[in-house]
């Protein structure tokens, strides 16, 4: 929070400091190319081609938001290509995409003339390019936000809306799943994970919904209690040897998994971490099948769950749908209404199963170049509002 306040103050200072020279140009103007770098690799813009992994699906979703105007009931974009604020100008599958401003866009032509998206850029390169003003916009891993800010990169941080949870593979645990889950949940030092691994960009997670969304997250404890965890574990007989899987390509998951292993060892719990093939991260838009976890014989795995909506009911329903194939929580109730009691009841029901152990909430972090104006952090489930962004200088060079 302190960092965020500092960043806000810095931003305000920069804006105020640059107010005088920018004052004649404060009114948005058209022109320029918005250079975007993302880590995902998109193979095709054809909506009928299914994404290979959640990262690609997320990236493709953002591109669809540029190309299509209509949003269907299930959240995907539909309609006629070119009805969105931008149209495809050039396309190099998996490498680069260029979108030109749609002069006929229903809500008016976007400010920027075009958007150039480089695909498959590693996080480190994205930060460097932002630092060197070779990119205007790029998503940044939350754990690198602080370092990027220290290096002078302009940062935009959302509400914590992505849950990193430890999910047990239901079929691999017996009747002791509840106690095993409770022991694991109590041994995790979530504060340390937030402070050290996430570099304070996030919140400890005790429930499936964040406090800002449900208002009941405080009812789920997040404090570490190694003593209780040890007691619970000692009651489990025979003590299982658990394997915690994480995505091989996800360094954050690896760090968190290793930390959980250290915490578990401290509590006397036999838990080892093991990398799983880098088939992609979980996303709110795509559910991972249970066989993935079973294939390499893990008892639990780390799963990223991004909120598809700020509304607790929709978010929880999406989470349940996503977790069900993994944890086998088909019997868990789905909130029938949006009332806090109903949502809490469902959330508590899932938590009581012990099959899902929330770890941390993470925000969406974006790096922006200094010339990007009117960037508004999208709410959970919303796309990047690139049509409203304008560039302070059309020519970055």
């Amino acid at each position: 929070m302190k960092l965020r306040l500092c960043l806000c103050l810095v931003t305000i200072s920069v804006v105020l400091a640059g107010a005088a020279p920018l004052r004649p140009a404060r009114r948005p103007h058209y022109g320029g190319t918005l250079r975007i770098e993302i880590g995902a690799t998109v193979r095709s813009l054809d909506p009928t081609v299914e994404a290979a992994n959640p990262e690609e699906a997320d990236a493709k979703s953002e591109m669809d938001a540029l190309l299509y105007d209509q949003r269907s009931e299930d959240g995907t974009f539909a309609g006629i290509a070119g009805s969105g604020p931008f149209r495809v100008s050039s396309w190099e599958a998996g490498k680069r995409a260029t979108f030109a401003a749609n002069q006929d866009y229903r809500e008016g032509r976007p400010f920027v003339d075009s958007i150039e998206i480089q695909l498959g850029r590693p996080a480190h390169d994205r930060v460097v390019d932002l630092e060197l003003s070779k990119a205007d916009f790029a998503p940044i891993p939350a754990e690198q936000a602080r370092q990027a800010a220290d290096r002078g990169v302009r940062i935009s941080i959302s509400q914590p809306n992505e849950l990193l949870a430890l999910v047990f593979v239901g079929s691999r645990l017996g009747k002791e799943s509840t106690r095993i889950g409770e022991a694991i949940a109590r041994c995790i030092d979530r504060a340390a994970i937030v402070n050290f691994i996430l570099q304070k960009e996030g919140e400890p997670a005790g429930g499936l919904l964040p406090q800002w969304s449900s208002g009941t997250a405080f009812l789920f404890p997040t404090e570490m209690d190694a003593h209780t965890a040890k007691e619970i574990w000692s009651q489990i007989s025979p003590s299982p040897k658990l394997v915690l899987g994480y995505d091989l390509a996800d360094t954050l998951e690896q760090s968190v998994a290793e930390r959980i292993v250290v915490n578990a060892r401290e509590a006397g719990i036999s838990l080892v971490s093991r990398a799983m093939p880098a088939t992609g991260k979980a996303s709110s838009a795509q559910a991972a099948g249970p066989t993935r976890g079973n294939a390499i014989h893990v008892d639990a795995r780390l799963v990223r769950l991004r909120m598809p909506s700020p509304l607790p009911r929709l978010a929880l329903t999406a989470f349940i749908n996503r977790l069900e194939p993994i944890a086998g929580i088909a019997d868990s109730p789905v909130p029938e209404s949006g009332s806090p009691e109903d949502v809490y009841y469902c959330e508590r029901s899932i938590m009581n199963s012990g099959l899902v152990v929330p770890v941390v909430w993470m925000p969406q972090v974006y790096g922006l170049s200094a010339r990007v104006r009117d960037w508004k952090q999208p709410a959970a489930g919303e796309s990047w509002p690139l049509a409203d962004v304008w560039l302070d200088s059309a020519d970055p060079h």
Partner: protein, 613 residues
């Protein structure tokens, strides 16, 4: 076995023993030399390893101290010394620093012992490493071995600690290098040597903890006795491991225990020295020695044979001379060469044979004289008896012619009768001597001895039971299936007659005359025994001497003739007698006489007398 063979065998045994001893001595000396060389080699390598180990320790210490003195570390220490310092910003720093300084382990530890950043196990941030905060002069301590917990499990590392002090707070830099296969691979070892490391991570011996520069060691359980001994009593020791029955597969391992700060055994380094080169060299030397020994033995064999032949030549000549002498050739002489013991022996031999010849000549002369005397005495004795009646008769005739002429005619008639009788007696005596002198050579033919015995006994049947004398009972025990022999029937008949007559003379009071024929080992034996008065030892000794007799009216030629006949048939005769019990003659006749015309020497041997009294 000849003397030469014995001498040769002795030479060979001596040679083999000498060569064997020399070969064994060379082998043992070579092995000891190699063992000593090997030990020195291993010691040098152990020393080299120790230097390398110490150098690594210094290197680790220098790197850790270098990190501690580097500007970023000092800045970190300054930041962390401030109140409410945010240590989270440094959580990922250790990894990069460790990589740049080629350290496997690196931890930044706060003044309270909390891990700020860990390179090897970044998730351990916040945990305590309290041993670092102990009051110890880490710079003076230098590097040390330590057991660490890692994500993969416990490990042993060569560690060093450096402290950065800012104000009253310390920032500890704890770094080190893993003691593992990479460490072993970095050791420079000569060919045929290898380094094996046992990491003492578990309460009991674990084969998986034994590694070399490629990973886990195969057949690690073979090292268990060494490791267990080290675990019980850490100290340097040397042990040989035979991997197979081939001695060349053996390795000598020198175990070096590596202790931690608390003198706990953390690792055992085993410097292995393959024996293949040494054993191969030893075998090469051994085979060379065997080859040389074989050549030496062959050469010695030839020399021994030659030397034995040369040394035994005079002895063999002496032996040949002795055989000549034993064959009756007493004029044999051996050549005398040199004046050594053999030469003196040869001279003595020659003197001995000369003396034998001389003595034989003298003996022959004396025997001849004695024989003539005996003949003369016997002749005089035999002739004296008839001569006395002749003389008396002639004197009666002379007296009758002068004193009683009228009775002369009657005396003359009686005297001429007496004279003729005595003259006839003289002729008989002379005839016997003539018969003995004219003993004919046997005319051999196929003869059944049993038939001869039966025929002779039949001739004497009347005399055995003659009126006026005690009876003699003959008993015949003639062997069945007795083979025929090559002999002269007449001579054998005569010999058996003489033996029966001799027995009858020996039994004036009658008795039992037993005759037995048997087959025995190429001979046919004939035994005749009586129950007469027996013979004294002296009589038995002289019983076959011609003209010797124990009777009042005997020529002493009967048994001499028997002996001559037996000898002419290449047979043997012996006598056994006991006074008052009887006498037995034993005759052995060959089925096929080897030499019908036996040489004098053979005859002399055959004439051996066996006398048991």
């Amino acid at each position: 076995m000849t003397f030469r063979s014995k001498l040769f065998i002795n030479f060979m045994l001596a040679l083999l023993l000498s060569v064997g001893l020399v070969t064994a001595g060379v082998t043992v000396a070579t092995r000891r030399a190699f063992d000593e060389l090997n030990r020195q080699h291993t010691d040098a390598l152990v020393e080299q390893f120790q230097r390398e180990y110490d150098r690594r320790g210094h290197e680790v210490l220098n790197r850790v101290q270098g990190i501690a003195e580097a500007e970023p570390t000092v800045r970190m220490a300054i930041d962390l010394s401030r109140p409410n310092a945010d240590i989270s910003v440094y959580v990922n720093d250790a990894r990069g620093v460790a990589q740049s300084h080629q350290l496997d382990f690196l931890d930044f530890v706060g003044t309270d012992g909390s891990i700020i950043s860990s390179a090897e196990w970044s998730a351990r941030f916040g945990y305590k490493m309290e041993w670092v905060t102990q009051k110890e002069d880490w710079a003076a301590r230098g590097s040390f071995l330590m057991k660490l917990d890692t994500q993969e499990g416990p490990a042993v590392a060569l560690m060093a600690v450096a402290a950065v002090r800012v104000g009253d707070k310390d920032l500890y830099v704890v770094g080190g290098q893993r003691l593992g296969k990479e460490f072993l691979a970095s050791l420079v070892l000569p060919e045929n040597m290898r380094a094996v490391l046992y990491l003492n991570l578990d309460p009991a011996f674990q084969p998986a903890n034994l590694i070399d520069n490629t990973g886990p060691v195969v057949e690690a359980e073979r090292f268990e006795p060494i490791i267990e001994r080290e675990r019980a009593h850490p100290g340097s020791l040397t042990e040989k491991i035979n991997w197979t029955f081939d001695a060349a597969s053996a390795e000598i391992f020198h175990a070096i225990p590596k202790l931690g700060r608390q003198n706990e055994l953390l690792a055992v380094l085993l410097i292995g020295n393959s024996q293949r080169t040494v054993v191969t060299l030893e075998r090469h030397i051994l085979w060379l020695a065997i080859g040389v020994a074989a050549i030496g033995i062959l050469f010695g064999l030839f020399l021994s044979w030659w030397a034995a032949a040369r040394v035994t030549l005079p002895v063999r000549r002496l032996a040949a001379g002795a055989r000549e002498v034993s064959d009756g050739n007493w004029n044999t002489r051996v050549a005398v060469r040199g004046n050594d013991e053999i030469g003196q022996l040869a001279q003595s031999f020659n003197r001995m044979t000369q003396e034998l010849v001389d003595q034989r000549e003298r003996l022959i002369q004396s025997e001849r004289v004695a024989a003539w005397r005996e003949v003369a005495r016997r002749l005089a004795h035999e002739l004296k008896n008839p001569l006395f009646p002749l003389q008396t008769t002639v004197e009666n005739l002379q007296r009758a012619s002068t004193q009683n002429p009228d009775q002369f005619e009657e005396v003359f008639r009686e005297s001429t009768g007496i004279l003729l009788a005595e003259i006839e007696n003289l002729k008989t005596i002379v005839g016997r001597f003539s018969d003995f002198a004219k003993m004919p050579q046997p005319e051999l033919g196929s003869v059944d001895l049993n038939d001869i015995v039966r025929n002779v006994v039949k001739l004497f049947e009347a005399q055995f039971s003659a009126v006026g004398r005690p009876p003699i009972t003959p008993e015949l025990h003639l062997g069945e299936n007795l083979p025929t022999i090559q002999a002269d029937t007449t001579l054998l008949h005569r010999a058996i007659e003489n033996l029966i007559l001799n027995a009858m003379d020996a039994m004036p009071a009658g008795g039992i005359l037993m005759m037995r024929t048997t087959q025995n080992d190429g001979n046919v034996d004939f035994e005749i025994s009586d129950t007469g008065v027996g013979l004294t030892r002296e009589e038995a000794d002289r019983i076959f001497t011609p003209y010797y007799t124990t009777k009042q009216h005997g020529t002493g030629l009967g048994l001499a003739i028997v002996q001559a006949i037996v000898a002419d048939h290449s047979g043997r005769i012996s006598v056994e007698s006991e006074m008052g019990v009887g006498t037995a003659f034993h005759v052995e006749l060959p089925i096929k006489p080897p030499h019908p015309q036996a040489t004098p020497v053979v005859v002399e041997e055959i004439h051996e007398k066996k006398v048991e009294v």
